[in-house]
């Protein structure tokens, strides 16, 4: 499954739960909700930026952020 998928103004992320913890993802969602709309759907985690920005980077930054949260917890 593709880990980062871009559709229109949305980036869809699919996390492998063997490596990324739910708690860390939840915390990242809370923190990212300031800059983008976050929806958990069947397809994955959908991020829609509130302002115009490079959408692919938001997905990649989200992945990095989750790693950081996991490390700090």
């Amino acid at each position: 499954m593709e880990k980062i998928k871009i559709i229109d103004n949305q980036v869809i992320l699919n996390f492998n739960k063997q490596f990324y913890s739910d708690d860390a993802i939840e915390m990242a969602i809370r923190d990212f909700s300031e800059i983008c709309e976050v929806d958990e759907t069947d397809k994955g985690l959908c991020l829609t930026p509130k302002e115009k920005t490079e959408i692919n980077l938001i997905g990649l930054e989200f992945y990095n952020y989750v790693l950081g949260v996991m490390k700090n917890n």
Binding site: K3, N16, F19, E61, Y63, L67
Partner: protein, 162 residues
Amino acid sequence: MKSNLEINKKKGFVIVSVNPKIYPLDVVMSAAYIFTDKCYVLVDGDLSEEIIVELRPKDKQELEDLGRDFNNELVNYATYAIQTLKNENLRQAIINRVLLTNSDGNGVSLSHSETDNDKPKPWETEDKPWEKEDSSEDKPWFDDPEGIAVPWEEKYGKDKDN
């Protein structure tokens, strides 16, 4: 030996395949976290078969070097983990020793018991020379065998002109 790197120059990323039997998950995740400074890191794969780490550099960087640096970081963290495991008993012994220093011998006691309140505190019993009553207040605090440390006014009286 077969390389564990898969370089995709067109899309600008390198995939590092890691054997979880050699490098445990916490080692891989620690190394991945270190790399979040200079690249975007995605972890995938199967925990029992193969861990796949995708590294996308934030700035222009040689992909092969990046992959090899990641391999080095894996070795670095694995060594650290092994050393930590080896020193675990020693570390525990040191901590126990430190805690026992403040206990009564029957176990660790970090709080004072009721009977402790009756005992004089160490700072109450220690010698305090500055609090001793000075029997000779007039004596100077230094030796003056020649008697030259007498103030002028005391020796000759106050100058009446002034």
